[in-house]
């Protein structure tokens, strides 16, 4: 369109205009301002919270079969934690001013809780990791200290591990026991903080009275439940993938740590752990879907002013997104996959991928769905996700930006496993 082109040249396409198509009566300033990155943010923080709760199931409740998973989940949670603020940074119109939320927080706003919650959660996870891996840090730094000729990379490794010990070199039985107790306390303390981390994200939406779809007291609880679901699902998936890779190394005799003698031993441990974890997954899945259906039933029953337009969005325009993709593919099919007897690793992998997809669709249906109808209740807005970026904005708020953020935690996790080795009996507590 010629007018669109000239506006583009003059940099006058307002934020949101490029990916919003308006239908019927919509206010002039209404656009889909909260787009893909705002979908990604609760998705990522959900993974963080879920991974942590999974790790705590072992440390706090002593579910012995989850020992291997627990360590893995904690490191992954930490890797995810660094990626979780990225969607926000890409969304903010002034990302460099983002730290204003730490400088002058306005606590009447749910978003202001971001600084405190993220920081305390990060402190808890980092501290727990420190206690868990402290002996490993001490071992590595002492062994490198005594080495006479260090190469550059070894010097760097030495400095990193030295500073990570925080000056504590006591690895006696007594000290390690104290570490264990500290881990237990932190894991216990971390569960409510992890819930808060995601509950506040739900509160951000649930407290907006101007948005007819978001406004419900159930929102924080729904978010927490589905966050835990996504965290557990992601841990199961990454765990299976890493175990498969290890099996590959064992077959090719490449692994430095000869933990398991054979493929069969690896395989048997895997299935046990996964069966245990998937039971928790199902429990939270049921909780999440029940709350969402409850919300829908209530809305239909009470039929307030906004119900007409909401009904046309939920049962009309977004029917496929909600009922087929989120409830059907993301909830019902994994349910059947996990519950039918004869569970195999392949079925678990498919199940968790679908669960993750379902959780993502839930975020999508809340964020985008909430902006699919106008404040006039007599108009609609359609969201067209920018796939191929042609400028900074369509990269930041488009598929490319979202995909990069989704892939980054895996990269970070790999880097972190160099410092926090995930599969090594020598460092275990």
């Amino acid at each position: 369109m010629p007018t669109m082109m000239s506006s583009l040249l003059l940099n006058l396409i307002v934020h949101g205009e490029e990916w919003t198509a308006k239908e019927l009566f919509v206010y002039p300033n209404e656009y889909i301002y909260w787009s893909i990155q705002i979908v990604m943010y609760p998705f990522m923080t959900g993974l963080v919270a879920g991974a942590f709760v999974l790790s705590s199931l072992y440390h706090v409740f002593g579910v012995k079969q989850l020992k291997e998973m627990a360590r893995f989940a904690l490191v992954f949670s930490f890797a995810l934690l660094f990626c979780a603020p990225l969607p926000i940074l890409l969304h903010l119109q002034h990302p460099l001013r983002g730290f204003h939320v730490l400088m002058t927080p306005h606590f009447t706003s749910a978003i202001a809780a971001f600084g405190i919650v993220f920081f305390s959660y990060g402190a808890i996870v980092a501290s727990e990791l420190w206690f868990l891996y402290r002996r490993h840090f001490v071992d590595v730094s002492l062994s490198l200290k005594n080495k006479p000729d260090k190469s550059l990379s070894e010097w760097i490794r030495f400095l990193i591990f030295c500073s990570l010990t925080l000056g504590v070199y006591d690895v006696s039985e007594d000290a390690l026991k104290r570490d264990e107790r500290a881990i237990k306390i932190l894991a216990g303390l971390g569960i409510p903080v992890a819930c808060f981390l995601h509950g506040y994200a739900g509160f951000i939406f649930g407290s907006v009275k101007a948005n007819a779809l978001w406004m419900t007291p159930l929102m924080p609880v729904i978010f927490i439940m589905s966050a835990i679901v996504s965290g557990i699902a992601l841990c199961i998936l990454t765990y299976i993938v890493t175990m498969e890779l290890r099996k590959l190394f064992v077959t090719r005799k490449k692994t430095p740590h000869q933990l398991y003698q054979s493929r069969e031993e690896i395989k048997s441990v895997e299935l046990n752990v996964i069966k245990m974890t998937s039971r928790y997954l199902l429990f939270f899945l049921i909780a999440a879907i029940s709350l969402e259906l409850l919300d829908l039933v209530f809305r239909g029953y009470t039929a307030v002013k906004s119900w007409d337009v909401l009904r046309s969005v939920i049962y009309g325009k977004d029917f496929t997104n909600i009922f087929i993709l989120q409830y059907g593919v993301g909830n019902l099919i994994p349910f059947l996959l996990f519950l039918t007897p004869g569970l195999t690793i392949r079925r678990v992998v498919l199940g968790v991928i679908l669960v993750l997809f379902g959780v993502f669709m839930m975020r999508w249906n809340v964020v985008i769905g909430g902006q699919a109808f106008s404040l006039t209740f007599s108009g609609y807005m359609h969201y067209h996700l920018p796939i191929i970026p042609h400028n900074l904005e369509t990269f930041k708020e488009g598929f490319a930006g979202a995909a990069s953020i989704f892939l980054l935690p895996f990269l970070l996790f790999w880097l972190m496993s160099k410092i926090f080795p995930v599969f090594s009996y020598k460092t275990e507590h």
Binding site: S7, L10, H15, N29, Q93
Partner: protein
């Protein structure tokens, strides 16, 4: 296992240690909160007469030029809506470019290039409704700002600090009236501010001055002799979306139930 004595000692140290930086925080000072709740002499309010508005859109044009909102950008601090109610009860509404160029066609814009033709004899009633920021008494947009970039001045006008706004858009989502948007150049939240730079000098807002028909008026509700105050107190006036509890301060004469 840490002994109780050690625990208490360390806790005491921690608390003393924390109280020093806490003194530097001073986020909330009780004295300031209980200080005077606003400038008692002035509270700006607005009055719109929907019988007088003809939809010429001169207010929208004046607002854009006065407040430096890029003329061709599809955002505006104020706009005019057209409502056409047919005899069969169906309501049609549109606001082409926010009525920046007025209403120069009798076809209702339905979006996506579609138009609705309505025959003159089918019209039961039709009118124009100017809209602008309501400068609410309980502004939900201010409540949700995470950094204190938007706020309410003592005289009731809600302003945005362009140097502090981080551009999260929470205030835009929280406004039930849809008056907020992102400024295309400054990339901060933006909205009508009753031409604060004009009213504080004794001038009228750009839209009030531009309106040839007197459909828009601004006044001070705290002044009993203000003609706007008199009308609000003595005539039947309505407000928009009062169910949200925002206590908007833009009053409408001739507000129809179909107005969104």
């Amino acid at each position: 296992m840490i002994s109780r004595r050690d625990f208490l000692k360390n806790a005491a140290k921690g608390i003393v240690g924390l109280s020093i930086p806490l003194a530097a925080i001073e986020i909330i000072s009780p004295e300031k909160i209980f200080a005077s709740k606003g400038d008692k002499k002035v509270r700006w309010v607005f009055l719109v007469d929907t019988y007088k508005c003809v939809g010429c859109g001169l207010c929208v044009k004046a607002c854009k030029l006065e407040n430096e909102i890029p003329y061709d950008a599809n955002v505006t601090r104020t706009w005019v809506e057209r409502y056409v109610i047919r005899k069969d009860g169906k309501v049609f509404a549109d606001t082409p470019k926010g009525a920046r160029d007025g209403f120069t066609t009798d076809k209702i814009a339905l979006g996506e290039g579609k138009y609705q033709e309505i025959k003159k004899e089918d019209i039961s009633q039709a009118f124009f409704v100017p809209k602008l920021c309501n400068q609410c008494e309980n502004p939900p947009c201010v409540q949700v700002c995470p950094v204190g970039a938007t706020y309410q001045a003592p005289d009731g006008v809600v302003l945005v600090d362009r140097k502090w706004c981080i551009g999260c858009g929470y205030c835009i989502m929280a406004c039930p009236y849809g008056v907020r948007f992102f400024h295309p150049v400054y990339k901060t939240a933006e909205k009508c501010n009753f031409c604060y730079h004009r009213i504080t000098k004794g001038l009228k807002t750009a839209c009030v001055q531009a309106c040839p028909f007197g459909a828009r008026q601004i006044g001070n509700i705290k002044d009993p002799d203000d003609p706007v105050s008199k009308i609000i107190m003595t005539e039947r006036v309505g407000i928009l979306k009062e169910e949200y509890g925002t206590k908007p301060q833009v009053y409408y004469i001739g507000l129809n139930k179909e107005v969104r």
